[in-house]
């Protein structure tokens, strides 16, 4: 194994978004490929150094190769992320200006939070390095993004000009949907074996909890909005709807702890709680509000 090859493969693998095991596998594959190529060139009569250079030349530019491998492993993931980030920034500016000039309300804090979340997504989407590899961070950011843009969706309903409110509502819905799709992609499709003892079970627990998480955030925002309408200002009582969030986080951590200890039944039994709560809420909304 030469220093030249090591450097090259290191740089290539850095372009790939994946866990350590995936990277190690890829590293090994690339090294074997380069070594075989080098051997062929040596057999053809080149010196060791020349054969190395020729093998690398044949292989191509490391960053380009990395990007191509990334695209092959996670097709259109980067593009989806960029679309989500740019779309979110455009929406944030649009709804902020609509609220400001049509309703006289400046949602400065929301603007700053939403632009920050979207800018982070943008950075993550073009820089597939460092902690981008950590799916936990990626999914957490996407969940925060969904929460912020669910509030953005509520803001669209506050615009009293229907010709502006309607397209913004559709825009916000598409953003939220795309973020949800990316969460599922990250969790299901892009989830590969790690050092976890039961990766398959852990994956489905993540799916269940992410679904519950989207529901819990929606529930919290709905109740906070309702309370804002009724009370008209911020009040300490608004902390109450945040309790389900704490319950959801605690149950999620508990399940992950149980599954790591190979206690499948226990973990799934706990997972039933948030899902049952979400289904109950869904039923309540359909029966009570829509009257079906």
């Amino acid at each position: 194994m030469t220093e030249r090859f090591t450097k090259f493969v290191d740089k290539t693998v850095q372009q790939i978004e994946g866990n350590q095991q995936e990277k190690d596998d890829l590293y090994e594959e690339l090294m074997i490929h380069l070594e075989l190529s080098k051997e062929q060139f040596v057999k053809a009569g080149l010196s060791e150094t020349e054969a190395e250079k020729k093998a690398l030349e044949d292989f191509g530019e490391e960053t380009e190769i990395g990007s191509e491998i990334q695209q092959a492993m996670y097709p259109y993931r980067k593009e989806m992320m960029i679309v989500l980030a740019i779309g979110s920034i455009i929406f944030s500016i649009g709804i902020y200006l609509a609220q400001l000039f049509l309703e006289g309300d400046a949602y400065i804090l929301w603007l700053v939070l939403s632009i920050m979340a979207s800018a982070l997504l943008f950075i993550f989407s073009i820089q597939s390095r460092a902690f981008f590899n950590r799916r936990l961070w990626m999914n957490s950011l996407l969940l925060i993004h969904i929460a912020i843009y669910l509030f953005g969706l509520l803001l669209t309903t506050g615009v009293t000009v229907p010709s502006i409110s309607a397209p913004l509502t559709i825009f916000a819905s598409i953003i939220i949907l795309l973020a949800i799709v990316l969460i599922y992609r990250t969790t299901i499709h892009d989830y590969r074996a790690t050092d976890h003892p039961l990766p398959h079970y852990a994956k489905w627990l993540h799916v269940i909890n992410m679904t519950a998480g989207v529901g819990v955030i929606g529930y919290i925002l709905f109740f906070l909005w309702g309370m804002m309408v009724m009370i008209g200002s911020l009040s300490p009582v608004m902390v109450i709807p945040l309790i389900p969030l704490l319950v959801w986080i605690s149950l999620y951590i508990w399940q992950m702890h149980l599954i790591r200890k190979r206690r499948k039944k226990g973990a799934y039994a706990v997972a039933v709680v948030p899902m049952a709560a979400i289904l109950l809420m869904f039923w309540y909304i359909i029966v009570i509000f829509i009257g079906m």
Binding site: E103, G104, L111, A119, T160, M230
Partner: protein, 347 residues
């Protein structure tokens, strides 16, 4: 792969746009009280047919007159942006107009002042001020020396999940010549509205919850807003005078000149959008029969029976249920027929 410089440039541009938006937000953000614009549901019709109505001009409330002689674009009363006009009432001869001023932020500064403006000369007089909230005012229909009003002692939220509202209501009167204030009831009602003064008897009418038999919290949910007659000679004599078995809340109403009928506002139906539709109903006190008066399928409110009992005036909020109401004034002959919109100058 995007170069570092390009990424930093993009982030700087995003940052600059955000800072520009924040600056715009600080400049153009409006307080709630600055946002009020356009017509309100507050109006009155004088004995000579003049219409007075409250209109917000970029948050500043004003009273405008619509008649053959008044200049419609000039407010007869114009208040500061942090003030609000809660109710207006013409004197029996139509020459004076009483109105209530309060602060828009009632929780911070609970007080009301009752003024009278001469509609011909524009001269203004403060009658009295209180550290409570006067929500409605009504001249006696035949005695221009007497004003009646609803007084709420508090303005607060009784529950942490409810917005602040006036509570502890009672009926008061004020004699202009002597400056004497008289408290007629001692009910401290949670809610009392639509004060009407009888032309023929020494009584007033109000809308309140019919909660005399309420013992438990569940009972209170089964009560309805009804029209009550309160005798001013014996204020303890309070009786329901609207249909007693009617399962409708009566929010607002007008009384016919000889007290024999009411035109009241209640929910009639729910629209396809899930929003209640309010109509006006006619109730004959002798036959105890009620019938629908309007068929607009909108939010119809504030009925006032005009001079000579020829027309019934009312307001329709065509944006009811949305954050910005959109009020239109209508008139309709008292015998029924098609409602006619009265185009108000201030729009």
């Amino acid at each position: 792969m995007m170069k570092k410089k390009t990424i930093i440039s993009i982030l700087i541009i995003i940052g600059l746009i955000t800072i520009t938006l924040i600056v715009l937000g600080i400049i153009f953000d409006k307080e709630e009280f600055e946002k009020q614009q356009g017509r309100t549901s507050i109006y009155d019709v004088s004995s000579n047919g003049t219409i007075a109505y409250v209109f917000f001009d970029e948050g500043n409330p004003g009273i405008y007159l619509q008649s053959d002689t008044a200049s419609p674009e000039e407010p007869i009363v114009q208040l500061k942006i942090d003030q609000e006009i809660l109710d207006i009432s013409f004197s029996p001869d139509g020459k004076k107009l009483a109105y209530i001023i309060s602060h828009k932020n009632k929780q911070e500064d609970l007080k009301s002042a009752i003024h009278v403006v001469n509609v011909e000369t524009g001269s203004n007089q403060v009658l009295f001020a209180k550290r409570t909230l006067v929500t409605e005012i009504e001249y006696h229909p035949t005695n221009e020396d007497m004003l009646y009003y609803l007084n709420a002692d508090t303005f607060e939220n009784y529950s942490p999940i409810a917005s602040a509202k006036p509570h502890d209501f009672d009926v008061f009167s004020y004699q202009i010549s002597s400056g004497e204030t008289k408290q007629h009831t001692d009910l401290k009602k949670y809610m009392m509205q639509s004060l009407r003064v009888s032309r023929t008897k020494n009584t007033v009418y109000v809308s309140m919850f019919d909660d005399t038999d309420v013992e438990t919290a569940e009972d209170s949910f089964a009560t309805y807003l009804r029209i009550f007659e309160i005798s001013l000679d014996d204020p303890k004599s309070i009786q329901v005078v609207s249909q007693k078995d009617n399962e409708q809340d009566i929010y607002d109403f007008a009384v016919a000149a000889n007290d024999d009928a009411f035109i009241y506002q209640a929910v009639n139906d729910t629209g396809e959008d899930g929003i209640f539709q309010y109509e006006l109903f006619f109730y004959d006190r002798q036959t105890e029969q009620g019938e629908r008066f309007t068929h607009l399928r909108e939010h119809t409110t504030n009925p006032i029976i005009g001079p000579d009992e020829k027309y019934v005036y009312f307001v329709v909020d065509k944006q009811f249920g949305s954050p910005k109401p959109d009020y239109y004034l209508y008139q309709m002959t008292i015998g029924g027929g098609n409602p006619e919109e009265i185009p108000l100058y201030m729009n």
